[in-house]
Subunit: 188 residues, 2 copies
C-alpha cells in the first residue's frame, strides 16, 4: 500500500456500506465503491476479493481476538471458562459498534449469498477455536463440540444484541447464553 | 410424475453420485445425469433445482424426522431429553447408510460450494428445531440456543461416524456427544 493511501481499506469499507444502503447490494459495483472512496478499482481488488468480502473485512481480526483470549486463559481454567474469556473478548470488541453491526446484519439477512458467507465465517471461527482448545489439552471430539457450542452462544447473544427491542450489552447477553447451556445440560 | 417413471428421483440420485465419483462434480452436467438414468433433462429439473441439490435430496425428510421426534417426546421431558429423542431418530435413520454418507461427505469436503450448501442445511435444521422447541414451551433465546447446540452435537457425532478409523454406531456417538455437553457446562 502506498503512503498516499494510508486509510484506503477503511475508506473502501465506508463507501461500500453507504452504497449498499443507498443503491442496494446487487446494484453496487466494485468500481462504484472505489470511485466513491476516491480510489481506483485496482486498489479495491488489492484489499478485497469481491464486494461481498468488504462486509467480512474484520472477520480475521475478531477470530484472532477470540482464539488469543482462549489461548491465554489461565491453564487451570476449565474449557467453559476459557471459552467465556474468549467470547467476552469478542463482546467487548463489538459492543461499541452496535449500530454498524445492525446495518450489516440487516443487509446479510436480505441476501442469501451473504448468509452463506456468514455461515462460512462462523465455521471458520469454530475450526480455529477447536484447534486452540486442542492446544490447551482438550481432547477430540470434545474440542470440536465445545467450539461449536461457543459459536452458537456468541451467535444467539449477537442476534439478541442487534434486535432493536434490546438495549442490553453484548457481554451481558453472552454471559446469559453461557448460563443457558448449563440449563440445557441439566435433566431437571 | 408419469407412471412410467416411478423411481426417477432415486435413479437420478444414483446416476449423479456415480458420475460425480467417476468424472468429478464440476465436470458432470444435469444432462449427463439424466442420460445415465435413462431420463430427460427436463425430468431432472422437475426433481432438482441444480446438480448441487441432488446431494441434499433427503434434507427435508431427515429434518422432518428430527422435529417430529422432538415434537412427540413426552411433555414432561426436559429440552435435553426431547432433543436426545430427535437426534436418535436421525441417528437410526442414517446408520444403515454409512458408506453412502462417507462418499457424500468426501465429495462435500472437496468442494467449497457444497460446503456452503451443507452449512445452509444445518442452519435450516436448527431453525426448524428452534420453532419446535418453542412450540413445546421453551422460551427464546433458550430455544434457539438449544437448537444450535443440538445441531453441533449431531454434526460432531456424524463427523466421527464417517471417519474410516471409527466403527461405532451413530446413535452411540450421538449419546456420547450429548454427555459431553454436560462436561462443558460443569465448571470443574
Amino acid at each position: 500500500m502506498g503512503r498516499w493511501e494510508p486509510h484506503s481499506r477503511r475508506r473502501l469499507e465506508e463507501a461500500a456500506l453507504a452504497l449498499y444502503a443507498r443503491d442496494g447490494f446487487e446494484k453496487t459495483t466494485a468500481a462504484q465503491i472505489a470511485e466513491r472512496a476516491g480510489l481506483t478499482e485496482r486498489t479495491f481488488f488489492r484489499h478485497f476479493g469481491d464486494k461481498r468480502e468488504v462486509l467480512f473485512s474484520n472477520e480475521g481480526a475478531v477470530r484472532e481476538l477470540l482464539v488469543t483470549a482462549v489461548r491465554n486463559a489461565p491453564e487451570a481454567h476449565a474449557p467453559r471458562d476459557a471459552i467465556a474469556a474468549g467470547l467476552q473478548a469478542v463482546g467487548g470488541e463489538l459492543q461499541p459498534r452496535r449500530e454498524a453491526q445492525r446495518r450489516r446484519a440487516a443487509l446479510i439477512a436480505a441476501h442469501p449469498e451473504l448468509q452463506e458467507r456468514e455461515l462460512i465465517k462462523q465455521a471458520s471461527w469454530s475450526a480455529a477455536l477447536a484447534d486452540t482448545l486442542q492446544a490447551r489439552g482438550v481432547a477430540e471430539p470434545a474440542a470440536r463440540l465445545t467450539a461449536k457450542v461457543a459459536i452458537a452462544i456468541v451467535r444467539v447473544a449477537f442476534e439478541r444484541w442487534i434486535d432493536e427491542a434490546n438495549d442490553r450489552d453484548l457481554p451481558h447477553l453472552i454471559a446469559e447464553a453461557l448460563d443457558q447451556i448449563e440449563l440445557f445440560a441439566s435433566r431437571e
